[in-house]
């Protein structure tokens, strides 16, 4: 945490795959700056020796035995798809 959080909104929006307008970039950068400045509060807390809490009530080894259940019918797979052909989801050409 730097004392003056500086958000590279362009880079973050790219990671998040959201096209932001210039206005959005400007507004978000300033609002997020406020939020990040507020979040700086956490630096005051002494967290030495504290185990991070990933789950409210952790239980180990939650699993299901290896038994298969029904598949979703392919019509149902495609019903919500924006574009499909040959029983597959179609997307504009993937460029590496």
């Amino acid at each position: 945490m730097s004392s003056e959080p500086n958000i590279n909104i362009e880079h973050i929006a790219t990671l998040a795959r959201i096209a932001l307008t210039d206005d959005e970039k400007r507004i978000f950068a300033s609002q997020l700056g406020d939020v990040l400045a507020y979040i700086e509060k956490l630096r005051e807390v002494d967290v030495s020796g504290v185990e991070p809490m990933a789950h409210a009530f952790p239980v180990f080894n939650v699993w299901i035995e290896d038994v298969s259940g029904p598949a979703l019918p392919v019509e149902a797979v495609l019903r919500n798809a924006p574009a499909s052909r040959d029983n597959m989801i179609s997307v504009p050409k993937v460029v590496e």
Binding site: Y38, I39, P52
Partner: protein
């Protein structure tokens, strides 16, 4: 009971149904008529399917005549927040992204409600993807507070609270990540229960922040909350975070669990920013408990002030990942502008998500990005542990903790524009989610301007029966929820 049935409780209506005083079809018709009448002003529903609901009602009546009634919920219309999957029904999360999505499967709670004979009625509005506390962030329309249409119903389960308050359902389900059941319940004069994390399956709940989200009932009475909770709670193999807890009969347990209790008042929850009318209503409730012989103790939750910071790191980090699946590929909004798949991502997500969702995804992406993980997410998880420890330490001395739900009653539409200011409003509800505790919002009076207020009781993990019993000791003599809005 006396009509209108649409303002009835589950307890009373199930009795009326069982003695044949009313049929489910008749009840459903009343609810539909009421919904048609008030919904144009309230805007609590994203959609509803009248024919489907009437068919479910007839099926319930048929079961009843054949002596195959499934339980107290059989034939009762229950509204579902539009983040809970119902097979064959839209599931929009109030987002343009999912405007045309139809769920091919049932959430676990949906399956359980259906198995109990309940009528899954309507898709209820919310802040897009449950991000917000006013239901103004819905991509479709804002929901209005039935007690004052100029005001917000709270959020994100604003549709669930408003529909119930307006008589458009007998009970509803909401979801609560940082107060999203309790705060709208307090704004709309209904009971809202956020169960212990892991008590109710999240399978089929559109995820906002997985480690905080929990589905819970919104009802007219604590008894009704107990009835609904008894149906939806329980271990689910489809949710790895579902806890293998014993499910008691909450309804009978809440009458047999008896006080007097030791009730904790956290001093950090009664400071600056708390509306005086809310404070005095909550103080009145505390006084009531004292008269019941309860021991009132001041407790300290010293890390309260860090709750919002920790919450917004954890919740946004998780949401940035949870919402990555909305990419316009397999379902959901797809931009027509995209020439390649990368553009498809950028444009579909830009067009499909609203401002608040984008804002939180960006924040969450930032706090997880390279070099920041330890400073933000990991530190927030440690602070989260400290916040939970505060509560657990307090519970060595008290049985439950009593606080306000929100610093203010419902505010006016458009009154709060600054995101941070809105985030700060969640101060009293967020700690409960971080700690994974159960908490209930109970109506505790009205402001001079006629707006409802609520008190929050925070209980110990998986001890919902006791929590409801403690609440019942107040509600019995202060049945505020019986005061309906004039619409």
């Amino acid at each position: 009971m006396t009509p209108p049935y649409y303002f009835g409780t589950i307890a009373a209506l199930s009795e009326a149904l069982s003695v044949g005083k009313v049929s489910s079809l008749q009840l459903m018709r009343e609810v539909i008529a009421r919904t048609r009448e008030v919904e144009p002003r309230v805007g609590a529903f994203n959609s509803f399917d009248e024919l489907d609901a009437l068919a479910q009602a007839s099926a319930s009546d048929l079961r009843r005549t054949e002596g195959r009634t499934l339980g107290l919920l059989d034939g009762i219309p229950i509204g579902l927040k539009d983040v809970i999957a119902v097979e064959g029904q839209p599931l929009t999360a109030s987002s343009r992204m999912l405007a045309n999505f139809v769920s091919p499967y049932d959430a676990t709670v949906t399956r359980k409600l259906k198995a109990a004979g309940a009528i899954c009625w309507g898709r209820l509005n919310l802040d897009e993807f449950a991000m917000g506390s006013s239901t103004e962030n819905s991509a479709f329309k804002p929901t209005r507070n039935p007690y004052n249409l100029e005001c917000v119903p709270g959020g994100s389960s604003g549709g669930s609270a408003a529909a119930l308050a307006a008589g458009c359902a007998i009970a509803t389900l909401g979801s609560d990540t940082g107060g999203s059941i309790r705060q709208p319940a307090s704004f709309c004069n209904v009971v809202g229960l956020k169960p212990t994390y892991g008590l109710v399956s999240r399978y089929g709940l559109v995820a906002y922040a997985s480690s905080l989200d929990q589905i819970g009932p919104m009802t007219r009475t604590l008894e009704d909350a107990a009835i609904v909770l008894g149906v939806i709670a329980g271990h689910d193999r489809n949710d790895s975070t579902s806890y293998p807890a014993q499910i008691p009969d909450y309804r009978s347990a809440m009458t047999t669990v008896r006080g007097p209790w030791r009730i904790g008042i956290p001093k950090e929850y009664f400071g600056e920013g708390l509306d005086p009318e809310v404070e005095s209503a909550v103080q009145a409730a505390i006084a009531h408990y004292r008269t019941l012989g309860c021991e009132i103790r001041t407790v300290s939750l010293p890390h309260t002030q860090y709750g919002i910071a920790a919450y917004y790191i954890i919740a946004t980090a998780e949401c940035s990942s949870n919402l990555a699946r909305f990419d316009g590929v397999r379902y959901g909004h797809r931009s027509s502008e995209a020439r390649d798949v990368n553009e498809l991502y950028f444009k579909s997500r830009a067009e499909g998500f609203g401002q608040e969702v984008k804002r939180r995804i960006v924040l969450g992406t930032y706090v997880l990005s390279s070099g920041y993980y330890d400073a933000y997410y990991l530190r927030a998880q440690k602070v989260r542990a400290l916040i939970r420890n505060d509560f657990l330490a307090a519970y060595r001395d008290v049985d439950a903790i009593l606080t306000p739900v929100a610093p203010t009653p419902a505010f006016r539409h458009g009154a709060k524009k600054d995101p941070l200011e809105l985030y700060l409003n969640d101060i009293y509800t967020i700690g409960v989610n971080l700690a994974g505790l159960p908490a209930v919002s109970i109506p505790c009076g009205f402001t001079r301007a006629g707006l409802p207020m609520g008190l929050q009781l925070i209980g110990q993990p998986f001890r919902e029966a006791e929590l409801l019993a403690i609440g019942r000791a107040y509600e019995r003599e202060h049945p505020w929820a019986e005061r309906h809005p004039s619409l």
